[in-house]
């Protein structure tokens, strides 16, 4: 199979299967071959069950031969961040703590992918427990950016973005607590969308910060992301915070919205100090493109931007310190071999099982929950600031259909660059507020730096209005060829 085929967008892969140009087994085998060839330098996968994957592909081909396809996506491979439960498969969260954990059940999103006949293709690397933005916090390996293997792919859904960018996969799932789908999508030059909080069930997804966590999709094109997003969204009795809202046919809505002249808000705070000039230029060129399409471009203010990082790191670490209390050496595979007492079982297992970043965040979370003028004073303060951020966005959306910003302040940086934890946190500035406000957000390629590294455009939408985001994103994609570029080698 030719390399070009592996980079086809979802709709053309479906056409290929329907037109019998290739079978699901042939397609899956071709992705496996490419993965084997590239993995020594990309390192996107933590584990891969080849036999199971091919079995699923052959089962799809049989269904096709018998005329009983489960969906139009039947037989299409999709990868999973190593945070989603898939029965019988490992789930490590890239942590030594869960190195030997095997999922006893399927996450709701996995059930939905299986019900659609999709081929579940490998377990993808991430920052440990989704804490980080480079994969350098993975306990097992660092994933490399396919555009320049000396650079980070972003994170925490590092493998999910890198595998799609490298053509090892056409689609993948990630999770986004503070930008972990959008930022790696930007740095790897693919489309990544995180819907409104509550759109996708969190059942079966290892928890980091429960009021912020949301699953998301990586795809080569906007329509591919829209199609898989629709498959995943919807109420789930197993997750009381999943929204009982109608899920639109996003692809149909994109078609219906073609030619519509939207109003886009451009917040000046997102274009200030710290923004790389090349990123700024590419994002402003995108704004200009929309202007020429006849969109209304409206300068807006989001004055709470500067509070986002503080509020986010207080809330996320507080929730994480609670969620990660379950890893105590009793039930979740890792127990220190040196533990002789119950106290040692707890403390040695946690000391040996967690990496530095996870420990740092647990400490910060516990600190913010136990310090200040009264119990949980700073946690309470951060939740009040969260309300201000929410209100700030709500005000902006009174006069705009979506907000346009950069996704990341810089293109991908080099692997191994020494930086303080705080400086790494500050690079999340454009994405975290979206999670605090529970809004849908996406990143799509909008240019390349002089060193040929992708640049991402972030679109932020009103709650439950993913259709507008996807429609606006598709209009940009239609007018550019960035999505079709492939990394060399």
């Amino acid at each position: 199979m030719e390399e070009e085929t592996l980079f086809l967008p979802l709709d053309q892969l479906i056409e290929g299967l329907n037109g019998k140009r290739f079978s699901s087994e042939e397609l899956t085998k071709a992705y496996i071959e490419r993965t084997k060839q590239l993995e020594p330098k990309i390192k996107a996968f933590l584990s891969f069950d080849e036999e199971k994957t091919l079995r699923e592909a052959r089962a799809s081909d049989e269904r096709r031969a018998q005329g009983r396809l489960l969906s139009e996506y039947d037989g299409i491979p999709i990868g999973l961040k190593d945070i989603f439960s898939e029965k019988g498969q490992p789930l490590t969260c890239a942590s030594k703590m869960l190195e030997h954990y095997v999922s006893p059940y399927d996450a709701t999103v996995v059930e939905r992918l299986k019900a659609a006949g999709m081929v579940l293709f490998g377990r993808l690397n991430m920052d440990e427990f989704a804490m980080g933005s480079s994969s350098e916090n993975s306990a097992f390996q660092v994933t490399h950016n396919p555009w320049d293997v000396t650079c980070i792919p972003g994170g925490s859904s590092s493998g999910s973005a890198a595998a799609v960018a490298a053509g090892e996969l056409p689609l993948s799932l990630g999770t986004d607590t503070g930008g972990s789908v959008r930022q790696p999508a930007a740095l790897c030059g693919v489309v990544g969308i995180k819907p409104t909080y509550g759109r996708i069930s969190r059942y079966g997804i290892a928890a980091f910060a429960s009021s912020l966590d949301q699953a998301g999709v990586f795809a080569r094109t906007v329509s591919g992301a829209a199609a898989i997003l629709r498959l995943l969204c919807g109420a789930d009795p197993k997750d009381a915070t999943s929204a009982r809202r109608e899920v639109p046919d996003f692809c149909k809505e994109i078609r219906n919205n073609r030619g519509k002249k939207w109003t886009l808000g451009v917040p000046e705070e997102y274009f200030g100090d710290g923004l790389d000039p090349e990123v700024k230029k590419a994002v402003l060129a995108a704004v200009d493109f929309y202007k020429h399409l006849g969109y209304t471009i409206k300068p807006i203010r989001l004055k709470t931007l500067e509070y986002g990082i503080s509020a986010y790191y207080i809330i996320a670490t507080a929730e994480a310190s609670s969620n990660l209390a379950r890893y105590d050496g009793v039930r979740y595979t890792y127990r220190s071999p040196n533990a002789k007492t119950t106290e040692e079982m707890f403390s040695l297992s946690r000391s040996e099982g967690f990496g530095s970043e996870v420990k740092r965040r647990i400490l910060l979370g516990l600190y913010v929950l136990s310090s200040g003028e009264y119990d949980a004073y700073y946690y309470d303060k951060a939740q009040k600031v969260r309300r201000l951020i929410y209100n700030d966005f709500a005000e902006a959306f009174k006069g705009a259909d979506a907000i346009v910003t950069p996704t990341s302040p810089t293109p991908a940086t080099k692997i191994g660059v020494k930086s303080t934890p705080l400086s790494v946190y500050l690079s999340d500035i454009y994405t975290v507020s979206v999670n605090l406000a529970g809004l849908p957000g996406m990143s799509l390629p909008c240019g390349f730096s002089k060193s040929n590294l992708p640049i991402g455009l972030q679109l932020i939408g009103k709650p439950f209005d993913e259709s507008a985001l996807l429609s606006i994103a598709e209009a940009f994609e239609e007018g550019h060829e960035y999505w079709g570029r492939r990394p060399k080698g």
């Binding site: 059940y105 400490l363 009040k384």
Partner: protein
């Protein structure tokens, strides 16, 4: 977070042990992060209701009780570090 007693206390409630060298590093890093995060103190939030969750459904989520099958023991056995007689085994408590 001015004294090492704080990090000792946090380590205790986190159930994580740190070497003396680690304590120095973590303390400095925490200090930086706390210094940054606690800038929120300067923001006037008088009268602002905390936003605990952005998920605001107009009614509670209720469901019928339905019996389902779930082999909890098998699920535990698959991942527990140690089990004896179908129970989780831990080092002697007393």
């Amino acid at each position: 977070m001015k004294t090492s007693a704080d990090i000792d206390q946090l380590a205790k409630i986190a159930c994580i042990r740190f070497s003396e060298e680690e304590k120095v590093i973590f303390q400095q890093q925490l200090q930086d992060m706390i210094g940054y995060c606690f800038k929120l103190d300067a923001i006037d939030t008088e009268g602002v209701e905390p936003l605990l969750h952005t998920f605001e459904q107009d009614e509670n989520t209720w469901g019928e009780d339905e019996p389902t099958t779930c082999d909890g023991l098998k699920m535990l056995e698959q991942n527990a570090p140690e089990m004896r007689d179908a129970q989780l085994a831990v080092p002697k408590v007393l």
